[in-house]
């Protein structure tokens, strides 16, 4: 009996089912991962600044991000911490923001307030990134900076986010 010999190198039956599974799982992976990395960053339009340093945060250091939309809503990690009309009815409209700032200040790496001191009062040495929309009234940002100066918080380094002109590349 002639056993027709199939050349094992060229013929391989491709089973399509696992291939489709891989594609679907890839899509789901990328969707979830992208959403998780963008959680800190609210969808706003940042103003353009030419002399800004490119934002390369050190992943080891905790750098909190606070977003303010054009209508004054303060959003942190997708959650509304202050809504202009609603929260203004409370006794202390900014209470949640203040509490968050106090908690954040505790989490941040601290250093002595007096330069070169080895003892005494300490304050967070890392910056807070404020991201606001082009048409956010500046008074909201001023308010947050005021809260940063308060006793329980004392965050004294602040970074304002902006977008860099693409054609020039990273500007120092």
């Amino acid at each position: 009996m002639n056993l027709s010999k199939h050349d094992p190198e060229t013929e391989m039956e491709m089973n399509m089912t696992p291939m489709i599974d891989v594609v679907f799982l890839l899509i789901i992976f990328f969707m979830i991962i992208t959403d998780m990395t963008q959680q800190d960053l609210e969808d706003l339009q940042l103003p353009m600044a030419q002399f800004a340093k490119e934002d390369k945060p050190d992943p080891e250091i905790y750098r909190p991000i606070i977003n303010i939309t054009f209508d004054g809503r303060i959003v942190i990690k997708r959650e509304d911490y202050y809504v202009p009309e609603l929260d203004d009815l409370n006794a202390d409209p900014y209470i949640r923001v203040k509490e968050w700032l106090a908690q954040t200040a505790k989490k941040m790496e601290k250093n002595f307030i007096q330069d070169g001191a080895t003892s005494g009062p300490m304050a967070p040495d890392e910056p807070l990134l404020i991201r606001a929309d082009i048409s956010t009234p500046f008074k909201h940002i001023q308010k947050i900076m005021e809260f940063c100066g308060e006793q329980g918080v004392q965050i004294w380094k602040v970074q304002l986010a902006c977008s860099v002109p693409e054609s020039e590349g990273p500007a120092e």
Partner: protein, 176 residues
């Protein structure tokens, strides 16, 4: 008998299942180790460090104060797919200010409406400083200024050479 021996040697069956498992594991590994980069920049500023702490008497230091006020708000515009159009009372959501927005900048007695003139003035002030490296600048933004206005001024201040920039706190709304 020789036929069977031949088949046993040449044929290698490719099992797809472990291949897919390896692919997944590699993917997960690389996704966890790589960081995603967002194309954003940052402008640094400092807030008063010693609030609430006993401060030693500091010698009067040369300070540059930049006052910014809104002279004219400009037309409120709404962004559409083809560009911008004036904002009507039935519009909600994001708005922009038109190019007829006018700001006034004051550095001491110097006053201008133009951003470039402000930059020239700041560069001159920085060069004329009394030899001290760190001249602090303060940006005093009055009500009705928006984030974009302030970032533009901050940008010019950094370009002029200032590194120690602080901001003034919020004003009640009725102040001009």
């Amino acid at each position: 008998m020789s036929m069977l021996a031949e088949l046993a040697e040449d044929k290698a069956e490719m099992e797809m299942t472990p291949m897919i498992d390896v692919t997944f594991l590699l993917l997960i590994f690389f996704m966890c180790t790589l960081k995603f980069k967002t194309l954003e920049g940052k402008l640094s500023a400092f807030l008063p460090k010693d609030v609430g702490v006993n401060q030693m008497d500091a010698e009067p230091i040369e300070k540059v104060e930049i006052l910014m006020r809104v002279v004219k708000d400009g037309t409120k515009l709404k962004r559409t797919d083809n560009g911008t159009r004036p904002y009507t009372s039935s519009d909600t959501g994001r708005y922009d200010w038109g190019s007829d927005r006018q700001m006034e900048y004051n550095v001491g007695p110097f006053r201008t409406n133009d951003l470039d003139a402000l930059r020239t003035k700041l560069a001159k002030v920085f060069k004329d400083r009394s030899g001290d490296d760190k001249v602090p600048a303060t940006i005093d933004a009055r009500p009705k200024t928006v984030y974009e206005d302030v970032v533009k001024v901050l940008d010019q201040a950094i370009d002029a050479g200032f590194t120690d920039i602080t901001f003034v706190g919020a004003y009640p709304d009725h102040i001009e």
